[in-house]
Symmetry: C2
């Protein structure tokens, strides 16, 4: 179905044809590529870094197996000596990167890879693929968290994520950005994320009546049942849940909560809350779900709709309002020479770089400054860390829990206006005088205008 085999082939064909041209022309000097996002999608003013762990694992294990080499040979495009070269190719480079869970902004380098140009080039496709997806989802998920203060938000998206890998990475990225758990059981195993779940409409409709279904379910889960009450009529469903909850109480058990998944979610939550409160069941929680996104959650928060938690699915899991980033991995240096792409509207910053983060006296983020790698800004924090050297991990990566805490701390220090889920204020990102000067020089040499 979807194995790890031939992962080195998970690249665009042109990476390999370019590699052969480099190889045959003996152009094997070190190159630096820089990954960054060129523009904010609508209603975005920041990004959350995610995906680095998979990138580092991929680079450490990078190699072409015999099935891959046989396939490449069969294409009739590649010379034998080049295929021999690929057979022994490993990633031997250096990687500087922003740790997972950190905030970043447009035009800031997130990953810079320095390696012999063939190595740094072939891995482009995989690196973009994973950083794009995981940062996209972490960013979207952080918006949901921000829109529902004091409420637990969980990931219900697996059925609508784009495939298996996305299902796994969405669970992980949303947890990184503050989600409380996921319905994805395999992600629970793989990443140690709490798994959560209630019941489906089919459970109710497979029984002769709704109350039979509720009684049947709580028999199996006397301590943690959340009953889905909207299969037929939500208000009648709430009354059935009250009755079952009272039956449980008489047995010394407790109904944990109910879920509403369709209809006028705000109105229904208020009416259902009243029904439980009137029955002296104030501790029964109400979970909301059904096509929710951060815009709904913000509306419910502002209107004090009495949901205790939310299941967020499709629209988070595919980042529905912005399903991709304008993300690029650009050559910025070759053989010690800084380089630049000048295509219309797609200007990049040449050379190896660093990003510094500045805070005010209370620790609040005030601005970033992108510099040449060797520059230093006293008192500011350099964000890019050396995560790989000579093809190996340079330092053990933080755990998912550590990255999650890192995110929460930093996100709490980002100005509210930048976090706004509609029309956020721009965050200040400056470029150092030395970097600007370098870009002008390179642009002049290339005969274009920066």
């Amino acid at each position: 179905m979807e194995s790890d085999d031939q992962l080195a082939l998970l690249t665009d064909l042109y990476q390999l044809t370019m590699a052969q041209a480099y190889f045959q022309n003996a152009r094997m000097e070190p190159a630096t590529f820089s990954l960054f996002i060129r523009a904010y999608p609508p209603n975005r003013g920041y990004f959350v870094s995610a995906g680095l762990k998979d990138v580092v694992e991929f680079l450490e294990g990078f190699s072409f197996d015999s099935i891959s080499l046989d396939y490449l040979h069969s294409l009739g495009l590649f010379a034998d000596d080049f295929l021999d070269f690929l057979k022994n190719l490993r990633f031997s480079g250096e990687v500087w990167a922003l740790p997972e869970g950190r905030l970043f902004f447009k035009d800031e380098p997130v990953i810079e890879v320095t390696a012999p140009i063939v190595e740094a080039q072939i891995v482009e496709t995989f690196i973009i693929n994973q950083i794009n997806l995981q940062s996209l989802i972490a960013t979207k998920a952080s918006r949901c968290i921000h829109a529902a203060p004091g409420r637990a938000v969980v990931d219900f998206s697996l059925r609508r994520t784009h495939g298996i890998d996305a299902g796994m990475k969405v669970a992980r990225s949303s947890y990184l950005a503050g989600f409380a758990g996921t319905s994805n059981v395999r992600a629970g195993l793989r990443y140690g994320i709490p798994v959560v779940g209630t019941m489906a409409h089919s459970f109710v409709s497979s029984h002769e009546s709704e109350i039979d279904a509720f009684r049947s379910f709580v028999k199996s889960f006397p301590n943690n049942s959340i009953l889905l009450i909207d299969t037929y009529d939500t208000i009648a469903g709430a009354r059935n849940a009250v009755q079952v909850g009272q039956e449980m109480a008489a047995r010394g058990q407790r109904l944990q909560g109910v879920r509403i998944d369709s209809g006028d979610l705000a109105d229904l939550a208020r009416r259902v809350r009243k029904i439980f409160d009137a029955a002296d069941m104030k501790d029964v929680k109400i979970v909301g779900s059904g096509g929710l996104d951060e815009f709904d959650l913000a509306e419910f928060s502002a209107a004090h709709v009495p949901y205790d938690s939310y299941g967020v699915g499709t629209k988070m899991g595919v980042s529905a309002d912005a399903p991709w980033f304008d993300i690029a991995y650009k050559l910025v240096e070759y053989d010690g020479r800084p380089v630049l792409k000048l295509s219309t509207g797609k200007v990049s910053w040449p050379g190896k770089k660093q990003v510094y983060r500045l805070r005010d006296g209370e620790g609040r983020l005030t601005s970033d400054c992108v510099t040449r790698r060797e520059e230093n800004i006293p008192g500011a924090e350099p964000l890019l860390k050396k995560v790989m050297a000579q093809g190996k991990t340079a330092a053990p990566p933080p755990s998912l829990e550590e990255s999650r805490k890192l995110f929460q701390e930093e996100f709490s220090r980002l100005p509210e206006a930048v976090k706004s889920i509609r029309d956020p204020a721009p965050y200040k990102v400056e470029f150092s005088a030395a970097l600007k000067k370098l870009r002008e020089q390179v642009a002049r040499q290339a005969g274009g205008a920066a």
Copy 2:
């Protein structure tokens, strides 16, 4: 990274909690679930079926391994006898489905699974996940093909697809719907799809000058070079390509084409075409790429912009204007009793069903009719085939090439107005009198209104 292990856990936790409740309440009768799409996204009037092959493979191989069972045990939710039951659980059911590459319409069943309710329920998440993604992309890709008649369209999306599995399935689904190839090398190996590629901006910018880069590349690929001409200035790039093409001609070689990836793509194609025509290089092809989708392609087709082929990436690979379907997998029968969900706005059709396709005298599609499974419409084609019986494949699936041909044949017979990429006309889907009567009966019994 992304192995096949523990694939049975790729489900929502509630599938397993419901399974335990069914098991402990001895509710193990056969259930039928029906998969369908509830609504068209904007500008869609049909869907293309894809993903069935993966669903059948998943069902055939379905089982919980010891790592999965140990993990489930660790959650403290599941009883030992239920975990023993899961250990021996295999999929033993029957599956009726629409073959890959066929067209379908909203509210029509695409897959109907009949199996003991636990089996049919646990596999829901995976089935929706794969059919949603693959049909989403096949549908989007078919729109690109329709918008660019007479032009080859290839998949350049791997770097922006949502993860690894999506990258593979997008390559396959777009090929199924008529794409000419993919840049994804691993998909080429796995699915036998033609792989295609040109060169990247980094290849040009890593050289001291653009013409050096072009010369270096054609040295390695004298017979199939497509030069990327927009790294600095597209018109100057075209002139450099002419010069290199003339040098190649003098050596008895031939420049295959050039690619334009940024700027005013329509204007640049016309100017570049003139440059090559004036140099008597009429057979040099022009490839267009850079953020294209079916709307751009339709505009270029209408204006006769002289592109010979297109590389379509991100917007196809994530179905950017409609990144998910309102797709559902609903219980329609349990223990021989047809059932219905009545939640607001989410009414389903009860019972096992069949879909019949009607054509006119010239073979053009005129309408579909959804019926109860056992009905027959003389002269009309029944679309759902029995693809699995007793948990095993009932007939060898068609090859990808066969499905691709099937799609092309059928798509050519779908009325133009339904294929329109903007505001398509609705296609007529009727529901048989017997099916309507059944729904009324079930709704009455459930005490609601259909």
